[in-house]
Symmetry: C2
Subunit: 441 residues, 2 copies
């Protein structure tokens, strides 16, 4: 009977790359509540920024498909079940989300999106900070999947079969290698640049099966955590100090803003969520100027710069401050693959606790999986090798209450903001400890 009905209806339900507002990184909620409380009326613009300039992102993506995918997101709201799930979340203890915040989610709609007219960015999103913020991982997941979908339409069924066969094998080998070091613990941080929704699901399933709960601690993706019985992971990101710093007027206030958001954060959340991200304006200056309370935080996330050097710096800082590094947590999360993870594990696991946030190279490592690598794809004039690699695309706050927002990071290649503003911020925060490394993913 269903068959008759299906013949009349569309042959397939439209297959949008993102179909639920839960399909975001969990920190969008922890930060969402923070923004809802402390910065409810701040106007922000977020922008999709393509760091890998060689990738013809918008030429490959089917624009109609992107419009449909983004407009579909505009129509989504949180279901009763989504809200019950979030209300019942108890990572630290029950009631981590207030009724006031949950009420705002019950009425939540994504603000409008805009194709970037100036061509500087790909897409922009403007509105109140607590709403716009959600676009970050939603837009990135959608854009990345639509890029690969377009590419894959140029392939034959045999090529697709080989591609997925090899990618599966490659993924499995990563887990095999990690399993040889039972002390290594990883978290899936790969939502934003995943190959596809379905592929991330497969990655999460395999990680859960092969690594088990002692080595696979969870996923940053709320939807995946919900559906695969995992703990959603994540705390906060650069956008918080970027917003606070942009609002601050004087250089002194700007330097203080990176610590003020941490004070506000610890008022809102308990110990489990006190993970500090020090590199927004360079982690060396951050650590040098950090107030004593930061020493009490549970740990740090290391997201840019040379990871060996930066992990060393954080551990030494703990020791210098008289904190017991063995009781702390360090979460490297910058473009990690298995060799780097095992290297960092061997170097630092005797000194502190480590969890590794694996992102793009967990959920989108199809490098060299395509069968005829040097062939040029006629439609796009580039080889498969050039087209079919994970690439770096981010979605960052670029404007706050009409002022430009800036991020420096420990790797100046990851800086965002207009050149003159980046220069101004460098004068305010100093250059100490900033380096330059190629950004692959």
């Amino acid at each position: 009977m269903t068959d008759f009905v299906r013949r009349v209806l569309r042959p397939e339900t439209p297959d949008f790359p993102v179909r639920s507002l839960l399909d975001v990184d969990f920190y969008k909620f922890t930060m969402g509540q923070f923004l809802h409380k402390y910065y409810p009326n701040v106007d922000v613009t977020f922008a999709v920024i393509l760091r890998s300039k060689s990738i013809p992102l918008m030429d490959v993506i089917n624009q109609e498909e992107m419009i449909a995918a983004f407009n579909h997101l505009l129509g989504l709201s949180f279901t009763r079940t989504d809200l019950s799930y979030l209300r019942g979340m108890n990572l630290q203890e029950a009631n981590m989300f207030s009724e006031d915040y949950l009420k705002s989610l019950a009425e939540f709609r994504l603000p409008q999106w805009h194709l970037d007219a100036r061509g500087e960015y790909t897409v922009t999103f403007s509105g109140k900070a607590p709403l716009v913020s959600h676009w970050e991982t939603l837009a990135l997941s959608a854009i990345t999947e639509l890029y690969f979908r377009s590419l894959m339409r140029e392939m034959t069924p045999t090529q697709l079969l080989v591609l997925y066969t090899r990618a599966t094998d490659k993924l499995y080998r990563k887990f095999e290698q990690l399993k040889r070091h039972p002390g290594i613990k990883i978290i899936d941080f790969g939502t934003r640049r995943r190959h596809s929704f379905l592929w991330q699901q497969k990655v999460v399933e395999m990680a859960k099966e092969i690594l088990g709960p002692n080595q696979f601690l969870g996923t940053s993706n709320t939807y995946m955590a919900f559906h695969h019985d995992l703990e959603p992971k994540g705390t906060n990101a650069h956008e918080l100090p970027m917003v606070a710093t942009a609002i601050a007027d004087t250089p002194d206030e700007k330097r203080a803003a990176q610590y003020m958001v941490l004070e506000q954060w610890q008022l809102m959340y308990g110990q489990n969520l006190r993970i500090c991200l020090p590199d927004t304006y360079g982690s060396t200056q951050f650590l040098e100027g950090a107030p004593d309370f930061v020493t009490d935080w549970k740990g740090f996330r290391q997201d840019s710069g040379d990871p060996y050097q930066k992990c060393r710096e954080i551990i030494d800082w703990w020791k210098f401050k008289g904190a017991d590094a063995k009781k702390k947590l360090l979460i490297p999360s910058d473009g990690l693959d298995v060799p780097l993870i095992t290297g960092l594990h061997e170097s630092f696991s005797s000194e502190t606790n480590l969890s590794f946030g694996m992102g793009t190279l967990l959920t989108n490592d199809f490098i060299d999986c395509f069968p005829n690598l040097d062939d040029v794809v006629p439609k796009f004039g580039l080889s498969w090798r050039e087209l079919f690699r994970a690439f770096s695309v981010v979605c960052k706050v670029v404007e706050v209450n009409g002022r430009p927002a800036v991020k420096l990071s420990d790797n100046i290649e990851k800086a965002t903001g207009p050149a003159d503003e980046v220069l101004k911020y460098k004068q305010i925060f100093g250059n100490k400890g900033l380096g330059s490394q190629e950004v692959l993913v």
Copy 2:
């Protein structure tokens, strides 16, 4: 690639009739918390009781399939997401379930089941009350679906097509009729005797679409509420007074027990969950003896006896007690179909608020939908008409701490318990207002 893997694995994932511990009536949780707090160490036996003696239930059901289905349930536990959902439930306000109770659910496993050796019942379940209680709707849903599955294996594809076509049309007509009375509000109470899991899903989807939120208030099934963005409905059932009364020693204590559980209940839950089920030992004696606090309860559920007479009795009692019946809620729930619902609505909607709990005749009305009704099914020696109707099967507490448990109800045909005990209870509670009606579903 999946195809190769699928060829090696079993061709189909085993299709158990119940696959989640959330796939129960929501009152199993509200009562579960109650039993966990007030009766944690009471030993009970629940038994499946077939009221429709003409149905060859255990001859039709494939016994291996039943064993597999029940053993599958033994292996289930609540997922992290299930627990977050329950923790986040806020029917009255947040935190309706205590952390202590949720912790017990995190460790919850169903106690063992037994094929009834004595042959008096179908299946029995023994253990601590808060655990055994969950078997009620799980066992009934499984048994009912397995019965119909076995029957349907005797049908041709054409017969199945006609069957489902007619049942769909029949269901749709019910909704059409209800829609003509926009004041009528229904709730799905049909989990326990549903045709199948998939059919209940279809019923819930259709009710949501056709009736909309003003006429379809929700479902008693927690899983369906979770997956279809509905409010889970339900409060408490006969098992609570049955347990308390069995434990009570003297006739006076037994008569008091039916009110004591209500006092305990209102300590635990707020106004929204104060719905009283008065008929366990006859609603006439219940109302006559009820303490004043019962007048403050939000409403009554009417589950046995002549519904017109019993609804009248409850409304008159409110008036007699000086309560404003127009602010109260009456929930008839005994074998309701559309004509009875519209009749009760016309009779009482000017005097009080009504919601109708539709059960078996919502989720399992295939009566007269089979194409060749008088044909005899060779395997079972009965006609399709006789075999393919909803039938009455219940799962009731029959023993409490070694003592028999008894229910009288307003319809003596629905009484459960050994004959001599039923007689004893009749002497204690009296015969007033008890009648006799045929029990169809």
